[in-house]
Each structure stands twice: as structure tokens, then as C-alpha cells.
């Protein structure tokens, strides 16, 4: 990595940070408000009626999932929105005619997504601790999983943006794929409580592993193997990163 590359990388991250910071009402605030509503409804209105899950109150049990959801959606939406918007305005050409290596373009955009996810994740956690005293079992592990998760979904967002032909296309995956997988990934319930067939189906949902491992970081509750979960996340990152790089090198979606 040369000095020029470092300047280029910092420029992309700065641009990405300023982009979502400038429109924080659209990018940061909604997740905070949603978190407040979840805590109010599940913590005060419904939670007590459900009871406890594995020695944790219902709200304590679902809090890690409620934090990882905005981390997933914000990292994804940040990159898909930013890169597709650049393609739509053709301003991405500024980057493509410059000597920035493809991997720096990819890591730069992904880092922007990770940064937004970290800020949103921290903001929703702050909202949480106002209402619930929830200790974190392993802070470095939680941060590690946060970064890995945000990295994974940022790359996915990048690939979606490169393939998208309209603004509709950048909403299809979040609406029809990410949301169902997230809500069916054990955020609001323990997968072990499902009938066996649905437990087996859940094994094919990568977000179930992320929710589970994130819950372990918060509560110390190991519902799936930590090593299996980490392996799945890292394998997905490697595969998607390679796809993203190939797309940039071949110019898919960005060159004629």
C-alpha cells in the first residue's frame, strides 16, 4: 500500500462518513427511535407476559438481536445507497478514472458501511442502557462480531449496488431477503423453542448464527457453536469480498 493509496483510502472513508453524517436524520436517528419503541413495547407492555428465556428476562434475551438488526441493515443500506447513488449520478466515474486500486475502492466503501454500523450500534446500545441494566459478557468479542457482521453486509450491499439497475433494485434484497432472514433468525425467540423442522431450516439462515454469537457476547449464552458461527461469517466475507473484487475488475455494472 503506497502513500497515494493511503490518501485515497482516507478520502473514500471521509467522503462516506460525511455522506451519512450529513443526513443523520435519515441514517442514524430511525434506528434509535425503533430501538426505543422495541424496548417500550417488549420491555414494558409484552415482555412480562412472555416471561423469561433461559434465565434471562425476555427483553434481556432479545436486546442483542435488537442491536444487531440495525447493524446489519445500516451497513447494507449505507453501501448500497452510496454506491448506487454514485452510479446513478455517474459520479462514481471520478473514482474509476483515477488510479485507485479496486480493492481500495471496495474496502473504502465497506469501511464507510462499517463506520455507520458502529455508530448506529453504539447509539442504540446507549438507548438500551437508559432503560435496562444489561451487562456485556465480553466487550472485545461484541466489538469483533459487530465489525465482522458490518463488514459482511457492507460487501453484500456493494454487490447489490453494482448489479442494481434502478432504485427499486436496491430495496428488493433488504425487503425480501434481509428482513425475513433477520426476523426469522432467532432475534425474538430461541431457535431451540421451534419445532424440529424449523430448527433444521434455521440452520441454513446465516443471520441466525450472527444473532446467536452476538447474544453470546452480550449474555454469555452459547446457543450455537461459537467456532462454527465465526467460520460461517468469515467464509461468507471471503466469498463476497472476492465476488466484489471480480465485479470491479470486470467492470460489472460500472463499465460498458
Amino acid at each position: 500500500m503506497t502513500a497515494d493509496h493511503i490518501v485515497a483510502f482516507k478520502t473514500i472513508i471521509r467522503k462516506e462518513f460525511l455522506r451519512f453524517a450529513r443526513i443523520w436524520i435519515q441514517t442514524i436517528l430511525p434506528s434509535v427511535i425503533t430501538m426505543f419503541l422495541y424496548i417500550t413495547i417488549f420491555g414494558n407492555f409484552i415482555g412480562d407476559k412472555i416471561g423469561s428465556i433461559k434465565e434471562f428476562s425476555y427483553i434481556e434475551y432479545i436486546i442483542p438481536g435488537l442491536i444487531i438488526i440495525p447493524i446489519i441493515t445500516n451497513s447494507y443500506m449505507n453501501v448500497v445507497g452510496s454506491f448506487y447513488s454514485g452510479r446513478f449520478q455517474k459520479s462514481t466515474e471520478e473514482l474509476l478514472v483515477s488510479p485507485v486500486p479496486n480493492w481500495i475502492i471496495l474496502v473504502g466503501y465497506v469501511s464507510g458501511g462499517v463506520l455507520r454500523a458502529l455508530i448506529v450500534g453504539f447509539a442504540v446500545y446507549v438507548v438500551t442502557i437508559f432503560f435496562i441494566d444489561i451487562p456485556i459478557h465480553n466487550i472485545p468479542f461484541v466489538l469483533f462480531i459487530t465489525v465482522l457482521t458490518a463488514f459482511l453486509f457492507s460487501i453484500a450491499g456493494f454487490i447489490n449496488a453494482a448489479y442494481a439497475k434502478s432504485f427499486d433494485d436496491i430495496n428488493i434484497v433488504p425487503t425480501f431477503v434481509l428482513n425475513p432472514l433477520t426476523y426469522l433468525g432467532g432475534t425474538f425467540y430461541s431457535i431451540e423453542s421451534l419445532p424440529q423442522i424449523w430448527q433444521d431450516v434455521s440452520l441454513f439462515n446465516p443471520i441466525a448464527y450472527i444473532v446467536s454469537v452476538f447474544r453470546y457476547g452480550f449474555l454469555g449464552l452459547e446457543e450455537t457453536s461459537i467456532y462454527v458461527s465465526l467460520t460461517i461469517i468469515i467464509v461468507f466475507i471471503i466469498i463476497l469480498f472476492k465476488i466484489g473484487l471480480i465485479m470491479l475488475e470486470k467492470g460489472i455494472g460500472i463499465k460498458n
Binding site: 497515494d4 493509496h5 485515497a8 459520479s91 478514472v97 483515477s98 463499465k255
Partner: protein, 309 residues
């Protein structure tokens, strides 16, 4: 000295099967002010897209200052500045920020990029607008911004794809002066334009592309020598009452004050004026009916030229 640009047997076929370029060969010397002309859809923007890495090559070679752009794309990118035909600006960020970002992509620190932005924006008369977003700029200002952006990394070659389209006459003249100034400093300029008088005025050499093939590649001087005849429109200060016949000239009455004169290339305007004076016609003004490049362009491409040409 190495050629600024060398295109060898270049072909481009798009995914839909459209053959945009057919075995293009072209050399542009360093320091040249080169006109790259052609009707709409002829292949100009495809060639520019390939040089700037935005369009992939089907086959052939493009060299920038001696280096193959496929083998060494970074070399080409560092040496080329592009002003595209379409606006491709981030509409949501202040224009100074755009300059600093683009500078950053080329490895230029924000401090250096800031001083270059100050210099370029002042030269192009948009420094006062530095805090505005492109949405708040007029078309002419956006064009100037794109020119400044293309020069932030001090390229040796500047490619201008219709840089004065939609720009008013006064600004166009200012931009011509600016282009000539940077060309004098050694920057090779490749210009595509639909304003043929712009090419005629600024460029030393030219190529005309038509249906994906280079159909003319020569110096401007050669262009002037190619035409056998030229046509002038003459306005008389007095009413012309009868048909006029002039030796060596074909005369066509357009109205009571205007005649069209066609003559061989060897005659000049003073010959025409002398002949008219002999017939007691006082000339109020005389203009080329159509510039010579325009006539040649139409002959070669068999196309009408748009009104703005």
C-alpha cells in the same frame, strides 16, 4: 518525443452486438491540440471511454505516452484528465469538496488539493461558488467545475468531450483562451465538439470518425487545401437592381442586398471585393457561407450538420 496517444487496431463491440469501433488507428503527438470529430453515434465517446478506462476494449491496443493502458492502467490514469460530455458530478456535496475528493483519489493531500483548487477555480471564475453544490450551479459553471476537476492532478493529456456544449458565447471564448493557455504550457488536448468553428479555431490536427471508422486524419492546413471551392455571402450597402456577372466567380442573388459568390480556392476576399467594386457594388460585409471544415465534414460524413455547428 513519445506520442501522447497511440491507438492501434482498436475494435469495440458492445454486449448488445453493436460494433462501435472498427479497427481504429490514430496517433496524436505530445503537445498537440487535436480535434476528434464525428456525427452523433460515430464512436467518439466510445474511444474516449476506452482511453479513460470506463469502456472495455474488445481488441487492439491503446498507448498513453508510450505505455499500454491495459498493462499499465495507473500510468494512463495519472496522465489523463477527462472532461466528459455528460455531467457526472456528485450533486449533493459542495464543489470544493468534490475537488478535494478527486485530488485524494489521485493521492494528493487535502492541503495541496486545496491550493490547486483555489488556483483553478480562480482561473475559471468559480472560486466564489466553492461552497455551493452542483445543483445550485448553472450549466456553464458545472462545465467549468468539470474542467477544474480534470486538471486537479496536473495531467499531461486533457480530453475534452464537448466541453462548451450549452455554454454562452462569452464564456465559450473565455474557455477557448483557457484551453489555448494550458496547451501552450505543454498539455496535449484532445477535443471533441459539434461546434466545428471551435475545432477550426483551436486545433492543429484532426481526425474524423464516422460509423466507427476513421475517415480523415490530417492537419488543419491540409483540410484548407483540400477544398477546391469556397462560398461567401456578400451584403451590399446599396440595393442591387440587376443580375450581376463576374469573371471567375459564380454569383447567385439571394435578395436585393445579398449575393452568394462561389469561387476557386486560389481567390481571396480582396479579389471578390475588387470585382464587385468594378460593378459599382459597395460591400457592407462579407462572410464565409460555411467554414471549410464544416463543408469537408459534411462531404465526408454525408450528414447534415446541426444548426449549432
Amino acid at each position: 518525443m513519445k506520442n501522447a496517444l497511440e491507438i492501434i487496431n482498436l475494435n469495440k463491440t458492445y454486449r448488445n452486438g453493436f460494433e462501435a469501433l472498427k479497427n481504429i488507428n490514430l496517433e496524436i503527438e505530445s503537445g498537440d491540440f487535436f480535434a476528434f470529430l464525428g456525427p452523433n453515434g460515430a464512436g467518439k465517446s466510445t474511444v474516449i471511454g476506452i482511453i479513460s478506462s470506463l469502456v472495455t476494449i474488445s481488441s487492439g491496443t491503446v498507448k498513453v505516452l508510450g505505455e499500454d493502458i491495459t498493462d499499465n492502467p495507473d500510468w494512463a490514469k495519472k496522465n489523463i484528465g477527462i472532461v466528459p460530455q455528460e455531467y457526472n458530478l456528485n450533486q449533493f456535496i459542495p464543489i470544493e469538496e468534490t475537488m478535494l475528493n478527486v485530488g485524494g483519489y489521485f493521492g494528493i493531500t487535502r492541503e495541496v488539493a486545496h491550493s490547486r483548487t483555489y488556483e483553478l477555480f480562480n482561473q475559471l471564475g468559480i472560486w466564489e461558488k466553492k461552497d455551493l453544490t452542483p445543483r445550485e450551479l448553472s450549466g456553464g459553471m458545472k462545465r467549468r467545475l468539470m474542467i477544474a476537476r480534470a486538471l486537479i492532478h496536473k495531467p499531461n493529456i486533457l480530453i475534452l468531450d464537448e466541453p462548451t456544449a450549452g455554454v454562452d458565447t462569452e464564456l465559450r471564448l473565455t474557455m477557448w483562451d483557457f484551453f489555448q493557455e494550458i496547451n501552450k504550457k505543454g498539455v496535449t488536448i484532445i477535443l471533441t465538439t459539434h461546434y466545428l468553428e471551435e475545432a477550426e479555431r483551436l486545433c492543429k490536427n484532426l481526425a474524423i470518425i464516422h460509423k466507427g471508422e476513421i475517415i480523415q486524419n490530417s492537419s488543419m492546413t491540409d483540410i484548407y487545401n483540400m477544398k477546391k471551392n469556397k462560398t461567401y455571402l456578400v451584403k451590399s450597402s446599396d440595393r442591387i437592381t440587376s443580375d450581376i456577372k463576374l469573371d471567375s466567380f459564380n454569383v447567385n442573388m439571394l435578395d436585393e442586398y445579398t449575393i452568394e459568390i462561389t469561387c476557386e480556392n486560389r481567390f481571396n476576399i480582396s479579389d471578390i471585393i475588387n470585382e464587385l467594386n468594378k460593378k459599382s457594388i459597395s460591400v457592407l460585409n462579407i462572410i464565409n457561407k460555411r467554414n471549410q471544415l464544416e463543408e469537408l465534414f459534411m462531404e465526408l460524413t454525408n450528414t447534415g450538420v446541426s444548426n449549432d455547428s
